[in-house]
């Protein structure tokens, strides 16, 4: 069986593509899925750092493309999971060192060794974006509830529609208390504007800064609320019908609201 090849993209930089890729990949691996995360951001590699694997890199994607090593030699296995690896981007090269066909061939090379290939797309809609998308059959668009991020997401969705790619949306960095007071667009607003099916909504949470600082996937933190959210997204991705829990639920809301007040 071939792997599901999914690109995570946003157009705008800094909305949380890499963090989402890392944590969603970890959540899928925690569920026993075989996952490879591909960093398509050649020249600005970060996926390794977010997952705490930066010291273990030997080869990278460009070296695979150039035939300097085997694909499996470049894969770094995350020892905290049974079945999670990453394929790091080259740091000292630029995006034009790989063509769309070459990138797609590398991703296809992962097909029978795993269930999911998640491709962390670079910001922008140029060469790096086209490469990342060429390797994928599905897309997850990550956005925040801000005007610039949504406009860029809309542009990217237009590009993905040209390729008839199924698209799902993750709204990241939601601040529930601002949504409540009307000072932030709600997830409903964002979904309505972009017209894409919702896969997940992630609150703006300090925990993600903390876990990223440590290079630790948040799904490994015991009783983490954020970890739970990523696990729900993973289940939805697998086709499960997981309800979007509301902040009104007792306990959760108070915790969220209290935390945001503190932050």
């Amino acid at each position: 069986m071939s792997a599901r090849r999914i690109v995570l993209t946003s157009g705008k930089g800094g909305v949380g593509k890499t963090t989402t890729t890392a944590n969603l990949g970890a959540a899928l691996a925690k569920r026993g899925k075989r996952v490879v995360l591909v960093d398509a951001d050649i020249g600005l590699r970060n996926l390794d750092l977010v997952l705490g694997l930066e010291k273990r890199i030997v080869f990278d994607l460009v070296e695979v493309v150039e035939g300097r090593c085997q694909l499996r030699q470049a894969l770094i296995k995350d020892k905290r999971f049974q079945s999670l690896s990453i394929l790091p981007a080259a740091q000292t090269r630029d995006k034009t060192s790989v063509s769309e066909a070459q990138f797609a061939a590398v991703v296809r090379g992962l097909d029978d060794t795993c269930d999911y290939v998640l491709i962390d797309c670079p910001a922008g809609i140029e060469h790096g974006f086209r490469n990342a998308v060429a390797g994928a059959a599905e897309a997850i668009v990550v956005t925040t509830p801000e005007v610039s991020s949504i406009r860029d997401a809309d542009r990217v969705i237009g590009k993905l529609n040209e390729r008839n790619m199924p698209i799902r949306l993750i709204v990241n960095r939601i601040r529930p208390e601002m949504v409540r007071s009307g000072d932030m667009m709600s997830v409903d607003d964002v979904v309505e504007i972009l017209g894409v099916k919702l896969l997940g909504m992630i609150p703006d949470d300090e925990e993600v800064i903390d876990t990223t600082n440590r290079g630790e996937p948040v799904v490994l933190v015991p009783d983490s609320r954020l970890g739970e959210i990523y696990e729900k997204i993973a289940r939805r991705l697998e086709g499960e019908n997981v309800a979007f829990s509301t902040l009104q639920a007792p306990g959760i809301f108070g915790r969220l609201f209290g935390q945001r007040k503190a932050g």
Partner: protein
């Protein structure tokens, strides 16, 4: 207290402003990304107007402009002459006015007036694309933002 003054001076929460601004800018983005659609609209507009008046096709201009509350279709279509609206003569008879012949008699004054106006064509908004505020009615219990 600060919150109170904030509310006092901010008539509309900024989330709603963001939503409206985005709707407009995205509509405008989509139109500028679809030159074929704009071209087809231009051709159709000219075709419809040409049924009634003779237009200066070479100098027609159809564009979209973002205004305060809407994106507007701006059509600048100079009119050269009025079309003869009298029904064409029954087939087989001769001597009747041809449909495309220039207007005569009492129609002339009106034609001149139109042609004159066409020298200073005012940019007229042919249609305003108004979007209804599609605020969803929220079911009680879902009014809070959801997480998950």
């Amino acid at each position: 207290m600060i919150e109170f003054f904030k509310r006092l001076f901010a008539p509309e929460p900024s989330g709603a402003t963001a939503r409206e601004r985005l709707r407009l800018v995205l509509l405008s983005d989509h139109l500028s990304l679809a030159p074929d659609v704009v071209e087809a609209l231009r051709a159709d507009l000219i075709a419809v107007i040409s049924k009634y008046v003779e237009v200066d096709e070479a100098n027609c201009d159809v564009s979209f402009e973002q205004q305060d509350q809407a994106v507007a279709v701006l059509a600048n279509i100079p009119i050269l002459a009025m079309r003869d609206r009298r029904p064409p003569p029954p087939p087989g008879t001769s001597g009747g006015p041809k449909p495309d012949s220039p207007p005569r008699g009492d129609a002339l004054g009106a034609t001149y007036a139109l042609a004159d106006e066409s020298r200073h064509p005012a940019r007229s908004a042919v249609g305003q694309v108004q979007r209804k505020r599609r605020r969803r009615k929220r079911v009680a219990g879902q009014s809070q933002p959801a997480m998950g």
